[in-house]
């Protein structure tokens, strides 16, 4: 068996997705700055690490926990970085349309991300999704693409290309905190679910009869727990960092007058009609 570090696999559809992202970035995303280039290439790097690298191999064939690390990177890091890489004056009108739509109704973005995250972890769908991964199929693209899309949609109302169309930072804190609770609940379920809830990693382990690369000698139970915990604890810190970033942005923002024009009401917090 090849060393883990040689396990690089390039899925053609994933490469096509990356090429499309590069095209969109250079043709449609407006004024490019050092910050936007840094965000974009970091995001592309992370997408490639999670879809082609040994981390991907670990996630697909060895560890449930590595699989979850991939999910977290795509959803909570690569997605937001892609949104932040869009320049200040994007040429494509769709960016403005998306921003306007999500400014008025941020809950569809929240809900889409949460639904995508939860759906992939329904045990039946989870196990079936791996069956579709082998060979030349759409499944790798659907899997990684949907996670990335969830991350992009989720972060758009917070860090989208038009600052005036961001939701209020304090609304953003509630937006992130509620997502954090949802993510924690999913992590909690996976952590404490019975060992036979997710079959795929048990079967691959048995089929390879110990021949699989298990560099950290994790038992299936510990692996599943680590998978849930990755979703639960580090994610909570990512959301918290997002909340603190928003709070800092709010405190740093200039307000034209001292007064309630800068204040926020409960209805604003919930509906973002600032």
């Amino acid at each position: 068996m090849k060393s883990l570090f040689y396990q690089w696999h390039a899925d053609p559809l994933i490469i096509l997705m990356v090429m499309t992202l590069i095209y969109l970035h250079y043709r449609k995303s407006g004024t490019s700055t050092i910050k936007s280039r840094f965000c974009f290439w970091s995001a592309i790097g992370l997408v490639l690490i999670t879809t082609c690298s040994p981390l991907h191999f670990l996630g697909m064939h060895v560890y449930f926990s590595a699989h979850m690390v991939n999910h977290v990177i795509l959803l909570l890091i690569a997605g937001p970085l892609l949104v932040m890489s869009i320049g200040t004056k994007p040429s494509a009108p769709m960016f403005k349309k998306i921003s306007l739509f999500l400014h008025k109704r941020s809950w569809p973005a929240w809900l889409t991300a949460v639904i995508i995250m939860w759906c992939w972890h329904i045990p039946f769908l989870f196990d079936r999704s791996f069956a579709g991964m082998s060979g030349f199929t759409l499944m790798p693209l659907v899997h990684a693409g949907s996670m990335l899309l969830a991350g992009i949609l989720f972060s758009w109302p917070l860090v989208g290309p038009f600052p005036e169309l961001h939701i209020h930072p304090l609304s953003g804190i509630i937006y992130l905190a509620t997502a954090c609770i949802s993510c924690s609940l999913l992590g909690l379920l996976i952590t404490f679910a019975p060992i036979h809830t997710y079959q795929y990693y048990l079967e691959t382990g048995a089929a390879m009869n110990g021949m699989r690369s298990n560099p950290w000698s994790l038992t299936p139970a510990a692996d599943q727990q680590a998978a849930g915990l990755v979703m639960w604890v580090p994610c909570c810190f990512v959301y918290m960092a997002g909340c603190l970033y928003l709070l800092r942005r709010w405190f740093a923002s200039q307000e034209p007058n001292f007064g309630r024009d800068a204040s926020i009401s409960l209805s604003t917090l919930m509906t973002n009609h600032e």
């Binding site: 954090c180 727990q225 009401s265």
Partner: protein, 572 residues
């Protein structure tokens, strides 16, 4: 119909206790005024403090010497359970909600809470919950499975007296009152601020209450659900927590600590708010890092849900789970540490006045840091395994609950008492109280760290005469009685001040926030008019317009080290 007065309004700011007209007891019972309800919350808390204090004095008497048989084991179990449950749910929570109910409308320039009747409902539901819990003594036995009431000890087979049923019902009522009060606080803060006050100008106490109220909304449903499930188990033979019936005993611990760890922050975040008012006023400086105090409060609230498993390291969840939660538990010390440094930096270079309120605040910095450090030591799993269920835990939790929460409440009490009563407590006796209480507290609980490290388990009704155990327990008991004596002195100070204390001026401490702009005690509608709000210290701006915060150059505001102390407004 129109001339019928359904709810008699108070003619005096603080009505008497007369029973012969509608301006006495009847007025208090039917009141929907936030100030009266706040005061009732505080007296409820004092009442339960005395009851729970007597319970623990009996426990300490039992533990004063080895092999003692002053109390029977069953009675001992009931007493420590009721002590813990009462202190958390019917002393700390009502005291915090008392200050909040009284002060939030005043600090934001409002006339009352958003929902005055809901406010009264919250108080009376809490009162009813506490009464129901204590009715268990008459109904056949108090709850006896500890304040966190672990399964399977809470199941009918192990505790067949009705005590735990009363525990469930009492806490359910109190929990409902807590939730409704939190909804009321959130709506009041977001919708009823005086017109020019933006959220960036909110007093930090109000900020902490806002964050705290969201935390309550997220945490209490878990407890309420667990209590309902336990009642079903006990009354209708459901099997949520019974392993024999296919349930899970560990599920109770998860549900309880999913509530319980945030609860630890629920009883400390408002205290951080109190100190964020006390330190600037008595240091005569603005708070250092207003945004950091808010930000660390938000961080604490969010992390509260990512660390609760550290209460369950000894349950055998496995090394993987323990490792993650050990790391996250170590990290949660950071935002609290940030706040400690905020307050230290606020004091630095200030013109400090050592009032009793400030003395409690300074003592808090020391005692709470000791409690925090012993807490961090529990994040290291092997230490937790060694020390769990020993007196080290008892010492730790009392250092954070007393050295943190209670010191904060006492600091707040001495700070706002002149506003609430219009009277000043005797300063000499108050300082006596401070020193006696702090001495009693340290004598009682410092030695318990050693007892725990020596292996003395908690919740045992007696212990063998092992080397050192007897003398350390005796010291602890002496300290407990010293604390009890000082609490008696506190009640005397308060009652004497209310009856014949020196009259307090409306602005007793040369303070910064809106509650000090009105009379002491405030009239029914709180304010005739509210002064302009242009910074976080509107009253100071009003008193010193030439040195107002909003009028100062940006650079001076950024470099707070160059700040001119408040007692020297012209910089001479």
């Amino acid at each position: 119909m129109s001339d019928i007065n359904f709810i008699p309004e108070p003619e005096e700011p603080i009505p008497s206790l007369s029973v012969s007209n509608n301006q006495g007891i009847l007025q208090w019972i039917s009141s929907v005024d936030h100030k009266q309800i706040g005061i009732m919350y505080l007296w409820l808390s004092v009442l339960f403090l005395v009851i729970a204090g007597i319970e623990i004095l009996l426990v300490r008497l039992q533990l004063a010497i080895p092999n003692n048989h002053f109390l029977a084991p069953e009675v001992y179990n009931q007493l420590f359970t009721m002590h813990g449950t009462t202190m958390i749910f019917f002393v700390a929570m009502p005291a915090i909600f008392g200050f909040t109910t009284y002060l939030v409308p005043l600090m934001i320039g409002a006339n009352d809470m958003a929902f005055p009747r809901l406010n009264a409902f919250s108080f009376w539901t809490t009162f009813f919950g506490g009464s129901l819990l204590y009715f268990s003594f008459l109904a056949g036995g108090a709850p006896d499975a500890g304040w966190f009431n672990y399964a399977p000890l809470n199941e009918y087979n192990y505790s067949s007296s009705p005590g735990i049923d009363y525990y469930c019902s009492g806490l359910l009522f109190a929990g409902i009152g807590t939730l409704t009060a939190s909804v009321n606080f959130i709506v009041t803060i977001l919708h009823y601020r005086v017109l020019p006050m933006s959220l960036k100008q909110l007093p930090l106490f109000v900020w902490m209450i806002l964050i705290n109220s969201f935390l309550v909304l997220a945490a209490f449903p878990s407890l309420n659900a667990a209590l309902a499930m336990l009642l079903l188990d006990r009354q209708l033979h459901a099997h949520f927590f019974s392993a024999a019936g296919g349930g899970s005993a560990i599920l109770w611990q998860h549900l309880f600590w999913l509530f319980g760890h945030p609860e630890v922050y629920i009883v400390i975040l408002p205290i951080f708010g109190i100190f964020s008012e006390v330190f600037p006023v008595f240091s005569r400086k603005p708070i250092f890092g207003y945004g950091m105090v808010v930000g660390s409060g938000v961080a604490i609230a969010l992390l509260a849900f990512g660390v609760w498993i550290h209460h369950m390291f000894a349950t055998g969840l496995g090394n993987t789970v323990n490792s993650f939660f050990a790391a996250s538990s170590l990290l949660i010390g950071i935002p609290t540490g940030v706040k400690i440094f905020n307050w230290l930096a606020t004091m630095h270079g200030g013109a400090i006045r050592f009032s009793v309120s400030m003395l409690f605040a300074i003592a808090f910095l020391i005692e709470f840091t000791i409690g925090g450090l012993s807490g961090i030591s529990f994040a290291i799993v092997p230490i937790d395994w060694q020390l769990t269920d020993t007196y080290y835990v008892v010492a730790h939790l009392h250092f954070v609950f007393i050295g943190g929460t209670l010191f904060g409440l006492l600091s707040g009490l001495f700070y706002w008492f002149p506003k609430m009563s219009g009277r000043l407590p005797d300063p000499r006796l108050s300082k006596w109280f401070f020193w006696l209480f702090v001495a009693g507290f340290n004598i009682t609980f410092l030695v318990q760290h050693a007892l725990g490290a020596m292996g003395m388990p908690r919740r045992v009704y007696t212990y063998p005469d092992l080397p050192g155990w007897g003398i350390l327990n005796l010291i602890s008991t002496i300290g407990a009685f010293l604390m009890a004596g000082s609490v008696g002195l506190l009640v005397f100070i308060l009652v004497r001040a209310i009856k014949k204390g020196a009259v307090a001026s409306p602005d007793a401490w040369d303070a910064n926030t809106l509650e000090w702009t009105t009379s002491s005690p405030p009239g029914l509608k709180n304010f005739d008019r509210v002064i302009p709000v242009k910074s976080t210290r509107p009253f100071r701006d009003y008193k010193r317009p030439e040195d107002a915060d909003w009028n100062r150059p940006e650079g001076a505001r950024k470099h707070e080290g160059k700040y001119i102390p408040q007692n020297n407004p012209h910089g001479k």
